[in-house]
Amino acid sequence: MTPKLGAPPSAARTGVWVGMGAIAMSFAAYTSAMMVRREGAPDWHHFQLPSILYVNTVILLASSVALEVGRRRVGDDYEVRRAAHRYLSLAFGLGVAFLIGQVLAWRDLAAQGLFLATNPSSAFFYVFTAAHGLHLIGGLVGLAYVLRRVRLAVGPGTYGALGAVALYWHFMDALWLYLLGVLALWL
């Protein structure tokens, strides 16, 4: 399928804001579910968060930085595009690294005997991190799409798409920081 020129830049941006609203709302729902569950249950066991989560956080923030640098460097010139493409690829790679790190965190918990159904706090840990991870994979798909566009040719639609993907990606960062806070404070 030949790449379409894409939606008008403003629509892509609006679209991401709308999507962010929906995702924020769903995590609000998960958060309130967690809060209710925590209040009601004598079986709420606090556990130590796997330390790799903090490493993953740094990785994710680094990927956002790389994405921003790459985004601002995109231009029509081939050399410029190649440089930008490198930063964007770095961002992509760091995103994948984050996800691998999350899986490692899960294995850490499993080694402690904490699985999805073990107790409510571990259940929410898996639910929160899985939900975030799934949405991040969506971000990776968007990033891959933009990577391909930058490699081929830079048109007016490219900036819009890049801006939209970057906005989404930074939102994933912010969401992760929020979740980390929730996990650290309440789990």
Binding site: A7, P8, A12, G15, V18, S32
Partner: protein
């Protein structure tokens, strides 16, 4: 006579698809997607209606064998009921007036060639269809479909097949289906919002949007928030069912003589999450109807809507307030009784914008030169049934009265009047109004008027008596009525069944009219109703890119009727200033 200008940003530059699959099946054309949604809704409403006939048959003749099903067992009754409610609310009332007509007409109303994300839009239909197929698969799994109602309260819906037939795989499929449905709606709503905000053609300010377009916009925003909460709820329910978690299941439950291994979950949590979605959902079902009536009535009254800004304000207010009232489904649920008053007051206040809107429609009718076409008649019928349905809500909104009326047929009467009747009348009005534009042919007006008159009478015959049943304490979701005090209600149930079967049969007139007109109806002109919004400035049906390459400039509001101009008594939105 329509004015054109330089092109605003457009969604695509390629030509129309030629291959059959791209044209009719996996199409990114919003018009095809709209028709696909309407087709799905038609299949869904037929299924849902047949299910209700079986329910009504059993209620009236509990010991008789139903055609094709034999003697209906209590669990089968509850399964019929659950599927009836689920299919109707999700796949008819959320689909037809919103995803169906909205997808077809929203881009045209704003003067665009398509939505900004056509592939997401296409996905939204196929995702919705997948959800429907997953749901109906539950009819054929060993334990049958879910029986916990469309509300699927935990723990009944969460503990699995131990709690009885209908709570096996069928309930899991229900939760999966609804989760998938949420995703479909989010993809679609995304498109609606971005189209309204970013794709409007030159001159089309928000104030000049047709009222139905406003309604679709507000509905998308409501839906965005609501479905984003239902999706997590369904996921947590699925986890409780298959992964051994206890989000909704407390400790110490003995189901089917077995002490369950769960602990600490909260059944009320499910109710809060569900109704936080569920109440806005019913406004998602009715607001497009508000918009349709507000758009169609001026065209047939030949005068502008009374109080246009007020109407839009009312729709927005209803949308906003819809998020503050969900606890009125839970007055007696065991939540803190003090919060009941906190939910009751906004519930009563929401009556105000609804009343104002109704008065605006009646005020538009006043002094009009009303053209009593079928579409015009359904608008008037909508007003009548919406008033009836709204007034019964007045009782239920008060916790002290709800103590008596909760879970009785009074509630069933209320929500059927506002949803099954009013919202459906909105769909009918939209169908008769827009069929010529969508298919290039006129529907038969004689058949339409018969359809209207018999349906209007029939629905009152079906649902008005349910108020009486409720006042007498007749409990809902019962497959039969062995309690002594409910025995007196049986004759009324028989009447309702006869009326329901009659009204159902009447819909065959509509179905016949649809099919016959599609293939043999009179060819439709561009603007058979002498209406003003942008869809009437293009051919019937519209070309692939909606306006044949033209980019219309809008210089007028959406209901400039009773205005002298070159066309007569109206000026179209795209006419010169």
């Amino acid at each position: 006579m329509t004015t054109v200008s330089t092109p605003p940003p457009v969604a695509h530059h390629h030509g129309p698809p030629t291959r059959f699959i791209q044209k009719y099946i996996f199409s990114t054309d919003h018009k095809v997607i709209g028709k696909q949604y309407l087709g799905l809704a038609l299949v869904a409403v037929t299924t849902g209606m047949v299910l209700s006939w079986y329910m009504r048959f059993h209620l009236a003749f509990p010991d008789a064998k139903a055609p094709g099903l034999g003697l209906i067992t209590p669990e089968q009754y509850l399964q019929l009921m659950t599927m009836h409610g689920t299919i109707m609310v999700f796949f008819v009332l959320t689909t037809a007036p919103f995803a169906g007509f909205g997808n077809f007409f929203l881009p045209i109303h704003v003067g665009a060639e398509d939505m900004p994300f056509p592939h997401f839009n296409m996905m939204s239909f196929w995702v919705t269809l997948t959800a429907f197929l997953v749901l109906v698969t539950s009819f054929v799994v060993p334990e049958g479909p879910a029986l916990a109602g469309w509300t699927a309260y935990a723990p009944l819906s969460a503990v699995g097949s131990g709690s009885g037939p209908g709570e096996g795989l069928g309930q899991t499929l229900w939760a999966i289906s609804i989760a998938i449905f949420c995703i479909g709606q989010l993809l679609g709503g995304l498109n609606f919002i971005c189209t309204v905000l970013d794709m409007r053609t030159k001159g089309l300010s928000l104030a000049r949007l047709p009222y139905v377009t406003w309604a679709w916009f507000i509905t998308s925003v409501i839906g965005l928030i609501a479905f984003s909460v239902l999706l997590p709820a369904c996921i947590l329910l699925i986890l409780d069912r298959v992964a051994g978690t206890s989000f909704f299941i407390p400790a110490g439950l003995v189901v089917n003589d077995r002490l369950l291994n769960h602990a600490g979950g909260s059944p009320l949590l499910w109710q809060h999450l569900f109704w936080f979605f569920g109440h806005p959902e019913v406004y998602i079902a009715i607001l497009p109807g508000f918009g349709i009536i507000s758009t169609i009535m001026p065209a047939f009254a030949r005068k502008p809507l009374l109080g246009p800004r007020v109407l839009i304000g009312c729709m927005a207010a209803i949308g906003f307030l819809s998020y503050t009232v969900w606890g009125h489904h839970m007055f007696l649920s065991g939540m803190n009784p003090t919060s009941a008053m906190g939910f009751s007051i906004p519930t009563l206040i929401i009556t105000i914008p609804a009343t104002i809107a109704t008065l605006l429609w009646i005020g538009t009718l006043y002094g009009s030169r009303y053209r009593f076409t079928t579409a015009g008649l359904f608008c008037l019928g909508f007003i009548s049934v919406f008033v009836t349905g709204g007034l019964s809500g007045f009782f239920l909104a008060q916790p002290s009265i709800d103590t008596y009326l909760h879970a009785t047929y009074f509630v069933v009467a209320h929500f059927h009047f506002v949803m099954a009747v009013a919202a459906i009348f909105g769909i009918f009005a939209g169908t008769y109004f827009w069929f010529p534009k969508m298919f290039g042919r006129m529907m038969n007006e004689t058949l339409g008027k018969w359809h209207f008159a018999l349906t209007f009478t029939g629905v009152y015959g079906v649902f008005m008596p349910m108020h009486y049943l409720g006042l007498a304490g007749n409990v809902r979701r019962y497959s039969s009525f062995p309690a002594e005090y409910m025995g007196q209600a049986l004759p009324l149930h028989r009447w309702i069944t006869v009326a329901a079967l009659f009204t159902g049969a009447v819909q065959l007139i509509f179905l016949y009219n649809l099919i016959r007109s599609r293939f043999a109806g009179e060819p439709a002109p561009d603007n058979p109703w002498e209406a003003t919004s942008l869809e009437w400035s293009t051919s019937s049906p519209p070309p692939f890119d909606n306006f044949g390459g033209r980019h219309l400039v809008v210089s007028h509001g959406p209901d400039e009727y009773a205005v002298k101009g070159p066309r007569g008594d109206y000026i179209m939105q795209a006419d010169p200033p």
